[in-house]
């Protein structure tokens, strides 16, 4: 018993010794340890309020413990319709974003790699990245103004849509739940497609040109080149991107949603994050909001782990 204690003390002493001898290194580590402790891991403890009847004046520790009551109101109680609507919208927006948005950067990268003229390529690439560097407020500000449809003025996009017959003369796209998802996804493509293509473009550029010559000699046409050389060549990148995408399935561009949606479009636009914002922070139900956030985080984490597991099963590529 005493021996064990001694040994433990010895070990502790040795660790301290190592740290002291190398104190500069540990001093360098200190800032982010403190930072992550304060701003990331401390709030994790704050998740406790999801299990409490949280009263701000009593604090997280002082409030009464209520078990899973908050989760129950979410899943099958008073908040259920709103919560599941948010859940559905998150899923659907994510899925549409994946189906329509994910292939576009890949196609762009493919086409960029086809442009032999360096100047033309650089110019078009640089132009296509630009929206990524503009803020969500700017982007949505542009979109909302261009989609404006009022008595006095009709935004350029609205008049375009009216002219090609996609919407009625009086339709207010921004106020109409039917149009939220396309608006959101197209805005997303405009903002991020060019930038996302960089990663794929680099992957394509890294493919050995000899493989293209080989398939040319073997008799492949352009599509077969893409199918048998380009795609396999960028497979690791592709898999990583898909895994990331699946992992973030339940977190769609939250800022963009709050900037684009409004009370008229909650039906299709309200996502988990905005639900948490409205119920938890603005609606005065922090405990329920925390529970919803926790639900979101846990499922998201499960998705990352699951997707990563599968990617490891089928290929050598994985996130960790």
């Amino acid at each position: 018993m005493q021996d064990e204690l001694d040994r433990e003390q010895n070990q502790l002493f040795r660790v301290l010794q190592i740290i002291l001898n190398d104190y500069r290194l540990y001093l360098l580590l200190l800032p982010i340890v403190i930072w992550y402790g304060l701003w990331f891991y401390k709030p994790l403890a704050g998740l406790l309020i999801a299990f409490k009847n949280f009263q701000p004046n009593l604090g997280a520790l002082g409030s009464d413990f209520v078990g899973f009551a908050n989760f129950e109101t979410l899943i099958n109680g008073a908040f259920a319709p709103q919560f599941w609507r948010a859940f559905r919208n998150t899923f659907v927006i994510s899925l549409y974003g994946f189906i329509f948005g994910f292939p576009i950067p890949i196609i762009l990268a493919l086409f960029f790699s086809e442009i032999v003229n360096n100047f033309l390529r650089n110019v078009s690439q640089t132009l296509s990245y630009l929206p990524h560097f503009l803020s969500e407020v700017t982007i949505t500000g542009l979109v909302l103004t261009m989609l404006r449809n009022s008595e006095t003025s009709t935004g350029i996009l609205s008049s375009l849509l009216i002219n090609i017959g996609l919407i009625e003369e009086t339709t207010k796209v921004v106020q109409n739940a039917d149009y939220f998802r396309p608006m959101f996804i197209i805005t997303g493509i405009w903002k991020e497609a060019g930038y996302s293509s960089i990663v794929f473009f680099a992957a394509i550029m890294a493919i050995s040109p000899v493989l293209y010559e080989a398939i040319k000699v073997d008799g492949g046409n352009k599509l077969q080149e893409i199918r048998y050389v380009t795609f396999p060549g960028m497979a690791p990148t592709l898999i990583i991107m898909i895994v990331l995408r699946i992992g973030r399935m339940l977190s769609v561009g939250f800022e963009r949603v709050i900037l684009l949606y409004n009370a008229n479009t909650y039906e299709t636009a309200d996502t988990l994050a905005t639900f948490v914002l409205r119920i938890g922070l603005e609606g005065g139900n922090p405990a329920v909001g925390a529970a919803a956030g926790m639900f979101d985080s846990i499922i998201g984490f499960g998705l990352v782990v699951g997707a990563n597991f599968i990617s490891r099963q089928i290929s050598d590529t994985s996130l960790w």
Partner: protein, 142 residues
């Protein structure tokens, strides 16, 4: 021309495609479902179940490609499950959505079933060839 020998080297793309068809069909089915039923806890779990199933189906597809017979049975499970769902469609749904969903369920179910049976059949041929020719397992290594 020895089919068994061919099975040693040519992967089972047919089964893979069938299961991937299941995956695609099921995704459309899921979208139809969530966009047309009232939101409730059932819908939430339906979505989560389908996400999990999609990942699982993808795994099945990849495994059937390399003639893993256990995963063919999992594929049959997928088919049966999809068929059983025909009787679980909420009553609130009406034509034409209902019809689309039924078609999708039947089609995906059949695809998964056919793919899996093909996989079973082919892996049997393959195993037979391996047994008959006493093939060194080293050859099978990837």
């Amino acid at each position: 021309m020895n089919t068994g020998e061919k099975r040693l080297y040519v992967e089972n793309y047919l089964s893979q495609r069938m299961i991937l068809f299941w995956l695609a069909g099921n995704t459309i089915y899921t979208l139809l479902y969530v966009n047309n039923v009232t939101v409730s806890v059932q819908m939430g779990f339906f979505v989560m179940l389908n996400i999990a199933l999609s990942l699982f189906a993808f795994l099945i597809a990849v495994r059937q490609r390399v003639y893993l017979v256990q995963w063919a049975y999992a594929g049959i499970g997928l088919a049966i499950f999809q068929f059983a769902r025909l009787f679980w469609i909420p009553e609130e749904l009406t034509n034409p959505i209902l019809l689309y969903m039924q078609i999708l369920l039947v089609a995906t179910s059949v695809a998964a079933l056919v793919g899996s049976i093909i996989c079973i059949q082919r892996s049997r041929e393959r195993q037979q060839y391996i047994d008959e020719h006493n093939i060194n397992p080293v050859i099978m290594q990837k």
